[in-house]
Amino acid sequence: MSIRITDTAFDVAAETAALSRGRTDIGAVVAFSGICRDSEDGERIASLTLEHYPGMAEAEIARHVEEAESRWPLLGVRVVHRVGRVEPGETIVLVAVASKHRRAAFAAAEFLMDYLKSRAPFWKMVEGTERKSWVDAQDKDDDAATRWRKISKRDAAE
């Protein structure tokens, strides 16, 4: 597993390719990128600024990667998360998951993203054209994370 928190832009393709480079046992890689948009509810976004809890952010992501590894037969996981100022068009987060087959890779990537949204200690502040404001947490993100608790590890492995 590779977990990286960075304040500079990163290359999604290079990060994703690194997961399977030099390996022939991997049959599936699913990569999810979360990208900074230029508007929210019709309001223009000039930039986002991400704050995190150093130490805990890495540890919390690692705990969820370990849980994903216990639920699905994974062959590699790479998570990169930006902090600091991010402009529209830039990637905020990359979750890339490798497995032998696609289903485990798709499911684990979605599981990790659902937990990252509501359990990893990051906070977004959005800078509009006139004002700055902290992004409100969404109930739907909480619900997305909670639903995985209802799915047993055995179901998940199938």
Partner: protein
């Protein structure tokens, strides 16, 4: 013990961290948030909605009923909005 604040809670309190020495009657995270809220105007503003405050003890998420005895580092923050 050391307490850390993040995002708008940090902005409202006006500092990122501080050493605190709460009285023995402050036993849980919920007690701590209530006690902090009584420390002045900026704290009252930061902790006016106690239900929304999330917490971690020694970098692990905890609920408001969690005991704070023995904690080295307590973090208080709004609901997370990463990813």
């Amino acid at each position: 013990m050391k307490v850390l604040y993040f995002a708008w809670i940090r902005e409202r309190v006006g500092k990122a961290d501080e050493e605190i020495d709460p009285p023995a009657s402050v036993r849980t995270i919920g007690d701590l948030v209530h006690w902090l809220g009584g420390r002045g105007e900026e704290y009252a503003y930061a902790f006016q909605n106690q239900k929304i405050v999330r917490a971690a003890i020694d970098r692990v998420h905890v609920r408001s009923e969690a005991k704070i005895a023995g904690a080295r580092e307590i973090a208080l923050f709004p609901p997370m909005t990463g990813g």
